[in-house]
Amino acid sequence: MTDTPPRLGLRGISKRFPGVLANDDVSFDVAPGEIHALLGENGAGKSTLVKMIYGIMQPDAGTIAWNGQQVTIANPKAARKLGIGMVFQHFSLFEALTVLENIALGMDAKIPQRELEGKIREVMTRYGLKLEPSRQVSTLSVGERQRIEIVRALLLNPTLLIMDEPTSVLTPQEVEQLFVVLRQLAKDGCSILYISHKLHEIKALCDTATILRGGKLVDTCDPKVETSRSMAEKMIGGNLKTIQKPADRAFGKERFVVNELSMAGAGHFGVALKDISFSVRAGEIFGIAGVAGNGQTALLLALSGEETTHDAQAITIDGEPLGQLNAKARRLKGLASVPEERNGHASVPDFTLSDNSVLTGRDRLGLSVSGFLRPRAARKYTGEVIDAFAVKATGSEAMAGSLSGGNLQKYIMGREILQKPGVLVVGQPTWGVDAGAAAAIHQALVDLAAAGSAIVVISQDLDELLSLCDTLAVINEGRLSKPMKVSEADIEEIGLLMGGIHGDAEATRQAEEVHHHAA
């Protein structure tokens, strides 16, 4: 092993953007056939680093060696020529094109369509990746889309495959399938650079882990030896705060009841909601898990009041019917909501923070009186939110769009929480937010519940729901599973419920049976 040069050797890589040093003197090696984790919080510089390895950006300083030879990777084409393949976190797919066309676009050599199709089938059978080449991408599930990216990368016979947060949108079963593929690739001699912040995955999959924090390399370690906690602390650079949740909390009376809520899907890709029923008690945090695109968006719109239903009794708060009320009226009744898209839906990027406060607080907080704004009251309230939630902003007059994702999310959550809503419905509360901000948001939700509010959290991040919620249900194709206590939840069962997406009704039925027996 010692006399073979590393597949990839980075020495002193630095990259500066206006105002930030994204990578600061980063050096590490990736050996042939090694699965190497690149670990770090959002903004630690992982993406910038791999963009330089893949030739999308150029380092300001430092060298890249490929099999012992120093190289300059001018563009992605040059990277692919060397044998570097990449699977992006946000898929670089073309919705309106077919699987085959998408793959053809990623190929540098011009290959006749039939020959390409043959090669695709060969790669698919070798690694057990199922795909239909003539399908249009817009009709595929997220897991299938990722398979296109993987096939596209594998067709070039890469000797280094970069995977940027590949599991963030997959079900536990899909993750297992992916790991089987990756392990086989590594066995065939392909090195894998695996970017993630999910520590248990890294422990399960990777041989080595390089940890970045604030653009600097903090440690290169063996994840099989480290604990998740020790790696997380290196990643965050301090002691990890665990959520302070009083054990054995008693819940109050039912505050928020959804009773057989059905609704047609919004738009053409919208999923219809079918007979959704659940209830949330005072002090309870109710989680709704599921793979993206299974009706979460429709459910959030239905609960917030952006979409109303004819059945007034379908949604009630403290016994009062809300079904026919719009979002404004529901807010007055004490139901606040935070949509998942923070830039443009939960806030207006080109408005100041205090104007954004007026948008959801105008009635409950009296920020607008007989049609006139009360800017001073709005500024005061926004200042309180900024202080209470440690939002990094230049003040209440900062533009919402100028805040980082984590800070904007803290502001949005704070804006709703300080209104002391009886019921809070939140979508993806920590999507793309760094671990520090995520912990603060989680703690705020727990504290709000402890004060007697009922909280609904809709998220695709199962880890988040398991650590945050008291009760959990899974949404799949617009149907909600039976709620289960998180303390008694079985991850296998949740995975099966989530995985119903591929039309696998059998698995869903099985999972429900498992649940039945367990209950």
């Binding site: 999308i56 950006m57 563009n75 992605p76 084409k77 692919r80 992006f88 898929f91 670089s92 797919l93 073309f94 919705e95 309106a96 094109l97 066309e101 053809a104 676009l105 990623g106 540098d108 011009k110 249009q136 817009s138 009709t139 053409h268 890709f269």
Partner: protein, 313 residues
């Protein structure tokens, strides 16, 4: 309606459809690459005067057409520089291009007013092109056949070539195309230049084939109809051909209703010409509504249409 009148009508409709077919085909390629150029009318006028001027100077309508294409492409590249290099707003810049083209063509046209040029000869022998019946197939200007060939070429290019696939990819998801390693800006410049050249030829069709002489604003808003036509055809070249002739029929009905007892037919006074003039736009709105009822995949609209391309680095 006698057969002679029918043939004359068909020839008229094909004739008035050709400019919007040419300009629409160019704009279709531009929009497929994700750029919305609302300057079609302006580029057509620039093409019209450039083609006319070149023909007056050289005496050859063929060179005139080449001049029109070059001038249209040049005007389009000015637009391209503004929206691609300076990231200006595509809608505002396109409208400005139309205003600019209208003014510039009027200015240059001052010294060409009243001049007359020799029209295109037929590319077919008189036995075919003058035959009272066969002229329905052979009696057109060469540009009409050029437009038809271009429909086939554009269809084939977009559907079956790698270049076409890359162009569609750039219009569908510019950031992804960039990250794979394609030059988004380069592809868009090329598409914009092609669109300008086609609009220029479409404009010169007015000054070299239909009249043939120069008159201010002689394209009379057909650039806007070409824009509507692209949407009407839901960004598909074969449908654009059908749509162009359908819009041609509507434009012919407008002329017909306006009066003069076109082709010796009686006027239908009940329907005013303004109704027919509005029809292409109304039909486009109807098509848009129909598209939005169906799913997005069916609409075929490029996902990046009109959005500026901004990379983080």
């Amino acid at each position: 309606m006698s057969i002679e009148v029918l043939i004359l009508t068909i020839i008229t409709i094909v004739g008035i459809s050709t400019p919007i077919l040419l300009a629409g085909l160019g704009e279709l390629v531009v929009e497929k690459a994700g750029v919305l150029n609302l300057g079609v009318e302006g580029m057509m006028l620039i093409g019209a005067i450039a083609g006319f001027a070149t023909t007056v100077i050289t005496g050859s309508p063929w060179l005139g057409m080449i001049g029109a294409a070059a001038a249209g492409a040049l005007a389009a590249l000015l637009f391209g520089f503004l929206v691609l290099a300076l990231n200006s707003n595509q809608v505002a810049t396109g409208l400005a291009l139309t205003i600019f083209g209208t003014g510039l063509s009027s200015l240059i046209g001052l010294s060409f007013q009243g001049r007359i040029v020799a029209p295109f000869g037929s590319i077919f022998p008189p036995a075919l092109s003058r035959d009272p019946f066969l002229k329905v197939l052979f009696g057109y200007s060469p540009i009409v056949y050029f437009a038809l060939i271009m429909v086939v070429l554009v269809t084939w290019f977009l559907k079956s070539t790698r270049g076409g696939l890359i162009l569609r990819a750039v219009g569908e998801n510019d950031l992804s195309a960039h990250s794979i390693g394609y030059s988004v800006v380069g592809v868009r410049y090329a598409a914009i230049a092609f669109g300008g050249a086609m609009a220029g030829i479409g404009g010169a069709y007015f000054s070299l084939v239909i009249t043939p002489m120069w008159a201010e604003r002689m394209t009379a808003g057909r650039g806007w109809i070409a824009l509507a036509l692209v949407v009407f055809a839901s960004w598909r070249a074969p449908r654009l051909l059908v749509g162009a002739y359908f819009f041609g029929l509507l434009m012919w009905l407008e002329l017909y209703a306006k009066g003069g007892g076109l082709n010796g037919l009686p006027i239908i006074p009940a329907i005013p010409s303004q109704f027919w003039a509005a029809m292409p736009y109304l039909m486009t709105v109807v098509v848009l509504a129909l598209i939005s009822v169906r799913d997005r995949a069916g609409s075929n609209a490029p996902a990046c249409l009109g959005k500026p391309f901004l990379t983080s680095n």
